[in-house]
Symmetry: C2
Subunit: 499 residues, 2 copies
């Protein structure tokens, strides 16, 4: 059947949508979420059908097309297009199979992941895949298959090196910006570190958000390979269009996030797919354990660690673990710019550098140095500390940011929120708790991560003695109103407990 | 934050959608599917956020509003509206609870069903509720709660009668239009029968589609009560806007249908909620059993029947069962108009009336007559047959359709598809099978149910002897092209098996 095109002037940024008037849909026995083939001349695409109940949106005889469909068919306003019914992709029957509790094989998983990446699934189908994996659980075989399918449907950075190092943190702890320091140390030590990181979804900053302060984090893969050859490492945003590692992950997270679920199998596959896509041979997995971290107990961390190791074996990635105290934020500054200042202090040996951040970064770098046999077992910490002391790590950091189009900055050149409010202690005592979740909440309300200068600076951390009237922390924001909300939030919830 | 309104000129017919440019969304830390409050003056509503990646769809500083949001806020193009973040409704946490395998209580189920009816859930959340119920299963208590919540969130037809009769078929068998005949017999026998039916979703016709041929099926509840007082019964479409019984069901089916799932607990609740909404006291449940029917074995039917009885007990509805042969279509005509002709033949004692349809309708009416103690046990069949023979049932049918704005029609006055094609037997033998699914497929391809005149007429049914060259069935359509597709379909698949 033929229809006149109405340009709806909407992009979904994903699924291709076409709108028919209810009367036409009834005539063709088409329903909401059915698939149709839209054809103009030799160009055609499959679209998901939405039904317009009013003639105002789409009158009978017309078809409303979203940008993605217009692009795929080169159709414009008032063109004539031909509509036929399309079959559901086979992946929908595999999703149904998983829903019914049957395990999927590689071909089935690959078909699903491919259709996720190509936006061929409706939100109902994608949600059902995620729900089914969440409730039914994924077998080890399914997790391996899913990882491989995510790698196969994304870009890869092919690196011809015997040893390729990566590091990953299982989050929930604000601050904790160890990655740039570790990468700098390892690159200074001559290791190859193709580091891709994510942006913050629910946290005050991701490594990619903090690296934004220093340089470009969205760089094409051919350029990244050149940087790697020249400098030995890079630090970029893996989700950038130019990079696009394991893109299924982002689409899955778009469903998981509003439901606040984080299915273990899915998480394992997503993380390891990104490591496999850069050809990592050695991965250090940091697991922060604490009441307000993602992992509550060491037992939980150990169990999860085992699964990472098994999956790593399948992918040819050796996995080591670093279990860390996740009971409070790491570093003094929280938020993209304040974390950037912190890590610069560590690398430039500033006397005010946060000790916890420095210590943790050195320990983790040391583990990787020993794990890759770059230094002898037992010598890692001393070696890593020396890389900072002799300026080699900072030089490596500068080489990386220059290669990524940045330039050297002093800490004072990093802009932070111009509106500030400091909180003072009401009593004398010892800080016994700093709440991760409330830290995150205040920073985000103040504008982090999109406002890079927003966040919190802590003058004292857990265990410190404070006097009544002494400054505890300062909240920063670029926006006076948002600072106001953040202050309200800090007053309403107890960020610090002093006894 | 304030935004200028862009009228998107789209109605979803459900969820309220607002579109912000990606830049504004980032500034406000808002994500796809987040909820926002849109306020203009004193009017406000909650909307689900979509993100526009291009300025063409929605530029920074503007907010694109769909019809439902414009209506709720009385905002128009270029008005200024105020946006604040809205909390997720509590029902989302209950859905999460069910996803995690915990049973829900009445308050939680009610909150979910209410938010479904009021379009407060995103497609991700609603899908997850359905997936969770499907995989986790529903306890009897949850099914009861869900039924009660569906009744409480829809319209009710309050009837002050001691005995209120209803009948329901668990489908999968094409044709099978017994309901209008049964209702006519029962109303002729003086019983109260407030019959609401559905339209076809996947079948060639629903009772509401066939009744369309005779009269109006979308009538307001006050009018229906008057009809009931005067005539004793009606036959309408329960999903009509004016009636709106248990409206949660339709919204749930919109998700289940594309996934091709039919969760048992959900189905029990949906059916019984509609019966409870009309105050039924006696329900006859027809269960067709057969290879291509929904229920494959008598054991399955018995198990399901038990669940209906238990649920009926809780709602004060007595449930009786009629297990029927579901191995082939019932009646000769399949499709809205052809079924209308069939039932008219039965009621007007036409010698060509399909015997299977007449027999089945009499048996089912008999069960209800005995079940409600209208006649003594063992006397039902004779009584029901007499109601047809003496014209009382047909008179009752005429009273009902006249009350619903229709007029008497002869069979020939019922228009059927003007394009036809007859299939003849290639060999002499006995018909051993007529496939339900293929019957349905051919009828729908020919245009049923939206093309009321489309469908199949069978000259012979299972068990009959046929000679080579003898007519087996005719396919009808209003549209020559669609008839062509239906013929193709009939040639490709084996509708009848002759041995």
């Amino acid at each position: 059947m033929k229809f006149l095109v109405k340009d709806m002037d909407i992009a979904t940024g994903g699924v291709k949508v076409a709108l028919l008037n209810e009367k036409d849909a009834n005539k063709l026995d088409l329903h909401h979420n059915d698939r149709i083939i839209v054809r103009k001349g030799k160009k055609q695409t499959t679209a998901i059908l939405d039904i317009a109940e009013s003639s105002k949106a789409v009158p009978p005889g017309k078809i409303g097309l979203f940008e993605e469909v217009l692009d795929a068919t080169s159709a414009v306003q008032n063109d004539t297009v031909e509509i036929t019914t399309a079959k559901k992709p086979a992946s929908v029957s595999y999703i149904k199979k998983k829903l019914d509790g049957k395990a999927l094989n590689y071909e089935e998983t690959y078909a699903i992941i491919k259709d996720i990446v190509e936006d061929n699934l409706t939100s109902i189908e994608l949600t059902t895949y995620i729900d089914a994996n969440y409730i039914r659980g994924m077998t080890l075989k399914e997790i391996i298959d899913s990882t491989k399918a995510m790698v196969a449907t994304g870009s890869k950075i092919e690196i011809k090196k015997k040893t390729v190092v990566d590091v990953h943190g299982i989050g929930g702890v604000p601050g904790n910006r160890t990655t740039p320091i570790i990468v700098a140390i390892l690159v200074a030590a001559g290791l190859t570190v193709p580091k891709t990181s994510s942006r913050a979804i629910t946290s005050p900053s991701g490594t990619a958000d903090t690296m934004d302060i220093f340089c470009n984090v969205a760089i094409s893969i051919p350029k990244l390979k050149k940087i790697l050859d020249r400098v030995g490492g890079f630090m970029v945003w893996g989700g950038a269009e130019q990079i696009n590692l394991a893109p299924a992950d982002d689409k899955i997270i778009r469903i998981e996030h509003p439901l606040e679920i984080d299915a273990e199998g899915q998480m394992l596959a997503s993380i390891m797919a990104k490591k496999a896509s850069v050809g990592a041979t050695h991965l250090l997995l940091e697991m922060s354990v604490g009441k307000n971290a993602k992992l509550k107990t060491h037992k939980e961390a150990k169990l999860l660690g085992k699964k990472f190791r098994v999956l790593g074996n399948e992918l040819g990635i050796k996995v080591a673990f670093f279990t860390a105290d996740g009971s409070q934020p790491i570093g003094n500054g929280i938020g993209p710019a304040l974390e950037a200042r912190d890590l610069l202090q560590v690398l430039t040996k500033d006397p005010n550098a946060p000790k916890d951040l420095r210590e943790k970064s050195i320990k983790m770098a040391a583990m990787l140095l020993e794990f890759t046999s770059r230094v002898h077992v037992g010598k890692g910490k001393k070696f890593a500390a020396r890389m900072i002391e002799n300026g080699a790590a900072y030089n490596a950091f500068l080489r990386i940011i220059r290669a990524q189009g940045g330039k050297e900055l002093t800490q004072d050149e990093i802009p932070i929120g111009k509106f500030t409010h400091s909180f003072k202690s009401k009593k004398t005592g010892r800080i016994v708790e700093i709440d991760n979740k409330i830290t995150t909440k205040i920073c985000r309300v103040a504008g982090a991560p999109s406002d890079h200068g927003a966040g919190i600076y802590f003058y004292k951390k857990k265990g410190a003695l404070v006097k009544a009237g002494e400054k505890l922390f300062t909240v920063y924001s670029q926006n006076e109103e948002e600072l106001g909300y953040a202050i309200e939030c800090a007053k309403q919830f107890r960020l610090m407990r002093i006894e």
